[in-house]
Symmetry: C2
Subunit: 142 residues, 2 copies
Amino acid sequence: MDNLKLENQLCFPLYVVSKEIVKKYTPYLNEVGITYTQYITMMVLWDKKEINVKDLGDILFLDSGTLTPLLKKLEEKGFITRNRSLIDERNLLIKITDSGLKLKDKCKNIPECVAKCINLDEKDAGELYTILYKLINCLKED
Amino acid sequence: MDNLKLENQLCFPLYVVSKEIVKKYTPYLNEVGITYTQYITMMVLWDKKEINVKDLGDILFLDSGTLTPLLKKLEEKGFITRNRSLIDERNLLIKITDSGLKLKDKCKNIPECVAKCINLDEKDAGELYTILYKLINCLKED
DNA sequence: TATAATTAAATTGTACACAATCTAATTTAG
DNA sequence: CTAAATTAGATTGTGTACAATTTAATTATA
């Protein structure tokens, strides 16, 4: 068995499916004026309201090189504010604005819309979810 | 159930696992002087020896905006040649060179090295593979 | 307590990734 | 046959993604 054949890789279909599903979000996210990465960032903020860049990066698996410009864009759009912590000025505190909170309502149908054009039964979706989080947890260790 | 919570998404863990596993390849690929996208491109060429940009893009799920600069880099490194087809000059024929063929041997241990640091049992790997290709086939339809 | 080590973001540079547009070659249809 | 439509790549512009480095603030230690 040739382990350098594309069909024998596990990473390649992961890479493809990840990209293609993100692409399915694009038309819906365009309507509300954000990108996929900005969308998952807003998800954290819809949940937590306030967080610093480091903790946000730990949750999203992104570093400051990605987050700094992205957060500046979300600030420009008025969805968040960026301010140094008074307790520890190394920390940049990201806070959701009213406009950012309202954005959640505009996004409420997106997961359903994307799910519709994906055609994955309950069982497979559950298995996929379980395996992916198993992997994430083992990748987090090192 | 809040369908706009990060933990309730299927796309997010896909996106994370895809990125993190690609990152596992990086140190090994650095040793042979290519990137992950260049690596999967070479996989197609190790298999097919010659292909045009369109067909390559169909296999890799990448468009000419990504492939054109990437193929120029692989050409600079001496792993491929790029020449217009004489039959139909719209087609750019990508051919693997001797150096490109030799690269395969240098890469032969990479899949094993990456697999080692991933810790996924046979059963889960099989299930994951099956579900991902099920998804790819349904995504290809539209 | 001054200095070293650590930490959090920002910055720099390289490489995708893709939508949209453009150009040139080939096909198709009237 | 010839103009219109299609096709293949290239280009442009925006937005990640990340390694490596830098800067500034804080903490630890000799």
